[in-house]
């Protein structure tokens, strides 16, 4: 028997109860090693230092009461069995604890050493079973992921062959084709493309299910993504003589989202709309803002299809759901598109829903968060209700020498960003998401909560990091500059929100100027040539 198997942690604040329970424990098993804690904080600490075989837990402690107590213990040591010690009058609470993951409960004053020993033994056994069940579930999920990934890889190889040779024929590279031959080849190509998207959907759905989908949000112009999606779907709309149009509200500000994922959602929705709309119908993609929900952009896809019945509406986002009323032609696909779309929208913090009128058409709408510099900057600008004393904007610019060889540029930009993230203090400074750059270089913007000397230290740290980055030398040069952000005069009656807004506006203005390479940073303030990089506003 290992030492841990003998170790029991008793968390109980009443000394009388604690002594009694300890006595019962040792009666049953003399060699037991019992540690006692009379506060939850001490108990949690002991739990972390030396994980026991069982925790005996009183729920009402000086520093925690009721449900809070067992939740914190379960949270701290998810694999350790817990037996709750309840009073006569709080059995309901003890039962609730069992529902939420505690292994058992005993009512104080009504158990002997045998019952205690048995409760503890069963708690250990049950916990062991649960742990192994959980492990095998995880293994199964992992196996499924690996299996799908392997299968999809293997399916792609012959599919590539079909795709390549059909396109060779279609492009006339193996001689001229008759009209009928061309038509047949186009059917093959369409089917091959459909297979390809099914394989992609299968992988995406499996990833979504195991919570492995990653998104990389950036500041994006939604209109551009919508235009791309509409252009990509135009050909299949034309095949059915469906008018595919878009209505863009040009006043939509930047959204904070992963452009590839937004495109994927849009393609999915437009694809569905075209699929379920009869010949010569119409599909409209719209982007707008809604007054009642000012922090999101609304993107909707409206079709003139046959609509979705009220019973089917709640089901369409579920995996593998296929409308049973759909005509044969529409039943192609795995029924994963909307499930994946919903998962992707949720990962961005948006919503997706459907409105439909049978016989008239369907509107699918999803929302994406607008990029808000104030929201991002609030924790930087305001600390414990007070405006920070000094804020500066640090600009790091990379300028490639001529043409970077071997495409290292992709890697370099990414590495530089990682380095900058390491240089900053996460709770005080922030590296702004890329706003895109005009021209070949890259500009990084850092809002730092630092005064002149703090900014100099930060710039020095960045400089050292970038100089140490060997691959950068010979490929690009960098310059670092900084400027103090003028802060609004804090008056007693100005609300904090207003101060944040004003400051965020100034920072936005400065960022825009920096991105546009306007002369906000005249050359003399560039660190490379100047010892005094931060300039205080007069």
């Amino acid at each position: 028997m290992s030492k841990q198997d003998n170790h029991v942690l008793l968390i109980e604040d009443n000394p009388g109860d604690a002594d009694l329970i300890r006595l019962r424990l040792v009666e049953g098993k003399p060699n037991l090693d019992v540690a006692c804690a009379n506060r939850l904080s001490d108990g949690l600490e002991s739990l972390a230092q030396q994980p026991p075989a069982v925790v005996l837990l009183d729920l009402n402690l000086p520093d925690s009461r009721g449900a809070e107590t067992f939740r914190r213990v379960l949270n701290k040591a998810p694999g350790v069995p817990v037996v709750v010690l309840s009073g006569q009058d709080d059995e309901d609470l003890a039962l609730k604890a069992v529902h939420q993951g505690v292994q058992d409960y005993l009512v104080k004053g009504s158990f002997d050493s045998k019952q205690l020993a048995r409760a503890m033994r069963y708690a250990v056994e049950r916990q062991g079973l649960l742990t192994s069940l959980d492990m095998s579930r995880k293994q199964q999920l992992q196996f499924k992921d690996q299996f799908l990934s392997h299968v999809s890889h293997e399916l792609r190889t012959p599919l590539t062959s079909i795709h390549q040779f059909v396109s060779l024929l279609l492009d006339g590279l193996s001689g001229p084709l008759s009209g009928e031959q061309r038509e047949h080849l186009q059917t093959i190509l369409r089917s091959a493309n459909q297979l390809r998207s099914m394989i992609n959907d299968l992988l995406d759905a499996s990833r979504a299910e195991s919570g492995k989908t990653r998104i990389e949000p950036r500041c994006i112009v939604l209109g551009e993504v919508v235009r791309t999606a509409v252009a990509m779907m135009q050909a299949s709309a034309r095949e059915k003589r469906i008018g595919l149009e878009m209505g863009l509200d040009n006043r939509i500000p930047l959204v904070y989202a992963d452009p590839e994922r937004v495109l994927q959602v849009l393609l999915n929705l437009i694809h569905n709309a075209i699929k379920f709309t009869p010949v010569e119908g119409s599909v409209m993609v719209k982007v707008c803002r809604v007054e009642a929900d000012p922090e999101f952009a609304y993107i909707s896809v409206t079709d003139t299809g046959r609509g979705i019945s009220p019973e089917a509406r709640p089901l369409i986002f579920e995996r593998m759901y296929q409308d049973p009323a759909a005509v044969d032609d529409s039943r192609k696909g795995l029924g994963l598109g909307l499930y994946i779309a919903r998962e992707l929208v949720h990962l961005h913090g948006g919503r997706i829903w459907v409105e439909s009128q049978v016989g008239h058409g369907t509107i699918l709408t999803f929302t994406m968060p607008l990029f808000s510099l104030p929201k991002l900057l609030t924790p930087i600008i305001i600390h414990q209700g007070k405006l920070r004393e000094a804020i500066s904007l640090v600009v790091v610019e990379l300028a490639p020498h001529g043409t970077p060889g071997m495409g290292n540029w992709f890697e370099i930009r990414k590495r530089c960003l990682e380095m900058l993230q390491q240089c900053i203090l996460p709770d005080k400074d922030v590296v702004l998401p890329s706003l895109g750059s005009a021209g070949p270089g890259e500009t990084y913007l850092i809002v730092a909560c630092a005064d002149e000397s703090g900014t100099t230290v930060l710039m020095q740290r960045i400089r050292e990091q970038l100089e140490r980055y060997r691959e950068l030398q010979g490929v690009a040069s960098f310059s670092i500059s900084a400027k103090a952000v003028p802060l609004p005069w804090p008056q007693a009656d100005t609300p904090a929100v207003k101060l944040v807004e004003e400051t965020a506006d100034r920072i936005t203005e400065m960022c825009m100027a920096a991105m546009a390479r306007k002369s906000m940073f005249d050359t003399t303030t560039v660190l490379a040539e100047n010892q005094n990089p931060t300039q205080k506003e007069q």
Binding site: S152, L159, S161, Q164, T403, M406, G407, N408, W409
Partner: protein, 132 residues
């Protein structure tokens, strides 16, 4: 003007044949390698202007090939387009980090692939190419 030469590295004979037909039709010269080891010796012998590289290869996978190319000053300047069946979410970042300039998942859109090849081979090519 001399024809640009493209080295195709792939262990699938069908893919090599199809790609070869397409590239020759677009007036490129081609050369092959069927595994990681011969990819390096062919690159050394043929000095291609561009390499199209698979990742899952016998005798040294795509990562090994990229690493070897990088180690050789003369070969490190040759741009590499990766064309693989592997899942981009698991592989794309790693392969770009290893020095590729574009990533295409099989089956790739031929128009996109050809336009990337032309961009990379054009004298004004600036750096990384956006590709799916």
């Amino acid at each position: 003007m001399e024809k640009a030469k493209i080295l195709i590295v792939d262990d699938d004979p069908d893919l090599r044949r199809a790609l070869n037909l397409r590239l020759r039709a677009s007036h490129f010269e081609t050369a092959y390698a069927t595994d990681g080891f011969s990819a390096i010796s062919m690159a050394q012998k043929e000095r291609p202007d561009l390499i199209i590289l698979d990742v899952g290869l016998p005798a040294g996978d795509g990562f090994v090939v990229l690493e070897r190319l990088q180690q050789n000053a003369a070969l490190s300047v040759i741009p590499v387009i990766v064309l693989t069946a592997r899942d981009p979410q698991a592989t794309r970042d790693k392969i770009m980090r290893a020095g590729a300039i574009a990533y295409f998942q099989k089956p790739a859109d031929n128009n996109e692939l050809m336009s990337t090849i032309r961009t990379v081979l054009s004298p004004a090519w600036p750096g990384t190419v956006a590709a799916s």
